[in-house]
Point group: C5
Chain length 87, copies 5
């Protein structure tokens, strides 16, 4: 779980990142409390700043990239927008 | 090891997560003490809130998804319900 | 490096974990001091409670499972029993 | 996100690292505050000391290495130079 | 980056580890300050106790093992000896 807190601009980067939204995300718990430092995640679902999102790392992040780029270097991706936390 | 503490509702998400239960889990030790922040895990065994569970991350989580979806983005899954801890 | 501190009983679990010993392990340094929270590891070498062991995570853990189960969900395994630490 | 803080010289190393720039990077947040210890990353985009960069770990780092070396041992790579952080 | 601080003897272990040097390594920063607990790493370059080394984890560690053992369980390897840190 994370909160989208900003975005990153990078012109000189790996080809596989061209044209993709690079967001700054802050891992949080279900009360919105920060639990890990900020990271950069590729946005695969159109999330906006301030939204709570589902975050995956490693190969899962590359599988969110449906255009099958074998050379996709991403290792962190937003794969869902959270509507609610239920306890 | 983790304890199931809630669930997450997400309508706008990666196709591979559709129809799957997204639970909020809290990594614990064998005395039930919290040891890591909350995370979201796909439930593969029908665990309920309050139950202690076996958690796996990375490719292991995707292997719990028996319907062989190459594009499964999940990176954390509940793969067992713990009956007891023995020391 | 870890110390085996207990075991876990789980009846309702992923098929790939059936018949395999699930141990509670505590990552330690070479002086036996605890360095990470407890985790569950599949035992691949017959380690007993109180023994110091070699622990691997991720795909390495699944490679310790010689019966080639593509659906093996394990992500942490005991792959050796430590006789001694030398400095 | 990380800041490039130095470089490493290593003569005796795995073949797959020969001829590649090994930089010391310091993971930071979007305010430039240090958030993780220093690591060594292979530079895939020509980053210089003092620059803020995009860092990836695991298989993503090897995918930045376009000459398809199956034996590439790298597990951390610089894959972009950050122009700006936007909040 | 890590410093080699010792070695481990393990007779009862996974076949893929037989005949390989298992070193105790301590992750450090470029000033030699400890930044993570000790770990066991397979030595792939002939490093000695007291030397500063390049460490890789996960599949990168198995790629340092040139004899292509599909069942190699290692998840941490020494892949270079550091001559100097430059800032």
């Amino acid at each position: 779980m994370a909160k989208v807190v900003g975005s990153v601009v990078s012109t000189q980067k790996d080809k596989s990142l061209i044209g993709r939204k690079l967001m700054i995300v802050q891992a949080v718990d279900s009360k919105g409390v920060t639990v890990r430092p900020e990271e950069v995640a590729v946005d695969a679902v159109g999330a906006g700043i301030g939204e709570y999102v589902l975050l995956v790392r490693g190969a899962g992040a590359r599988k969110a990239n449906r255009n099958e780029d074998f050379h996709d270097v991403s290792d962190c991706a937003i794969v869902g927008i959270i509507d609610s936390f239920d306890h």
